[in-house]
Amino acid sequence: MDDKKIVCQLKKKKEKALSVLVDRYSAYVSTVVRNIAGNRLTESDIEEISADVFIIIWRNADKLRSESLRSYLAAVARNLSIDRLRKLHITIPIDEIEIYDNTDIEFNAEQHDLADVFNAIIDKMEQRDREILLRHYFYYQKIPQIALEMNMSQSACKTALHRARNKLKKKLKERGYGNEN
C-alpha cells in the first residue's frame, strides 16, 4: 500500500491502513521523538508518544495529504515531544533572535508574514545549508549525529551550522526581522 492509498483508506477510517502506517513509519517517528527526548524519557515514554502521533493522524485523517504525510508525522512527533518535555520541566534548547520592536505579535498578518518569510528564505538557501539547519532546528540533531549523517567532520559541521545560522539571521534582518544581539 503506498502513501496515497494509506491516506485514502485512513480517510475512510480503515484500521488496516492505520496498522500499515504504523509499520511503515514507527521507526521514523520514534527516531524524531528520541532525537528530541535524548535520554530524558524512558523507552516506554517514547513508545507512548509515538503511539500518540499515530492516534492524532487517525483522528485528523480528513486533513491529510499523501504528498506531505511524512512531514506531517514529523511535525506532530516534534510538537508532542516538546510538549512532554515542557510538562516535565525538562530544559529544551532555545536559540533566540530579537524581533525589531518590542510589541507582542498580535497581528495575524504579522505571524503569517514571519512564517511565510521564513519559508521563502529557507527554500532559497543552498541545499547543504537548508539540510543542516533542518537537522539541527527541526530534528534537534546534535553536531556529532549531523556530521555522521552528512558525511563531514564535526568541526566542519559546526562551522557550516554557524554559517548557515548567520545566513538565516541576515536574511531575516534584511526583511525587517532579527536584530543581532
Binding site: W58, K87, H89, I97, N108, G176, G178
Partner: protein
Amino acid sequence: MKINLYDIFSDYKGDLPDISEENCNNENINRIVMQRIKKKTVIRKKSRIAIISIAAALTALSGITAVAYSEGFIHFKNILQRTENNPSISRDLPLVNDNNISSMEQNISENHIVFTGDDNLKISTAGMYCDNNTLMIAAEIISDTEIPENSLIIPYFSKIENGLETPLLNKSGFGMTSQIYKGDTPNTYYTSFYITEKDMAGCTIKIQLENIISDSTYDEIQSAIIEEQNKWREDFDFENHTVQEWKAYWKANDFDSRTYDFISDYLENCNKILSGSWTAEIKIPENIVDTITAEKDGFKVTADTLSLTLDGTASISEGKFAVPVITMKDDTVVLTAGTNELEYFIDNGICTDTNYEYFASVFSNVYSYKLPHPVENIADITVYIFGYGENGIEAESHNIYKSEDTK
C-alpha cells in the same frame, strides 16, 4: 520580543531530509495504537465518572446541598481537561486536570444563560470559569438537525463597560472557531469558548455566535483570506520592503477592517451546515476571588489562577523591555525569557535550568500560564527591565509583591 529559532522551524512547510532511523519496538507501538482507537468510547465514559466523583466531593466539602451537576457542566469540566489529548484545541489553553482543577473551583460556576436569536437552535451556557483576565465558557446546543462531527461555530466577543461596547479582537483574526462535540443526550451538543482580556471583572462580555460550518469550509475561508492578503502584499511589493513598512501600510489601509469585511462577505455566501445568529451577555462578577493585586515603582500586577497582567510598561525607555517573573512557594519560576535573559536568571540564582516554566502565551499584557497556579502559592512577583549596552545585557529589578510568609 524574541523568537526562538527552534520555534520558527515549527512553521517549516517544505521537504525534510532523510534521517537514519533507529530500531524501535514496532509491535508495541502498533498494539498501543490499536488498543487506544478501540478503547475511545470507554475512556470517555471513565473520565465522566471521575468528574462526577470530584464534583460530588467538592460539593460536600463546600457544605452546599449536594445537587448532581448537569451534563452540560460536567461537559464543561471535561472540555477543560481534554486539552492534553485534543490537538485541535489551542496549545495556549492551560492544562487543567483532576489534580489542579480544585484550585479553580472558586471561580467556576454552573449557569444557564440563554442565547437569543434564530430558533433553529437552542443555545445556553452550561458553566464557566472567570477571573479578571480569563473567561472560559461551555455552551449547550439543542438541534433537531444533525450536526456532523468536526463542525465549527463562529464566536465574536465584545466587552461592555460603562455602557460602551468594544469588540475584542481574537489572537488570530478569523480563526477563533469553536468545535462542536456531540453530547450523550439525543440532539444535544456542546462547545466552549476561551478568551483572555485584561480587567474583565465587573464588565459584561457579549458573545455573538454566527453560523455552523464544516472544518473544510473553515479551511476554504482561511485559504481565501491568505489569497486576498497575498494580493495586498503584491500591490505593496512586499518582497522589497521591510516588515515595519508593511505594518505601517497595513494600518494606513485599515486592513484589519477589510479582513473582517472580507470574512463576513465570504461567510454570508459560503456553504453552511446551519445558518443563524445567537447572542448572550455574560456578566463577570465584580469581586473575583483568589486574586493578588500589587503596585510599586509605577508597575501594577494582577495575578489570578490562570494568568498575570502587568501594567506600567509604557514608561520603559526605548530599547528596553519588561519581563515579569513569578516565583512559587514550591520554587517553580514562571517567566518568559530569551537565551540571554534566561542565562541572566540562571547566573543570578533567580531560577535553575530545571525549575522554570514559560508562560503559555502573552497577549495584550495578559501572561497566561500553562497550568493553574493558585495565588496562595505565589511567593514573589518581580519585574525585570532588560536592555543591551556596550557591556552586554543590563538588568534592573523591581520587586512588586512578596507573600507575607516569605518576608
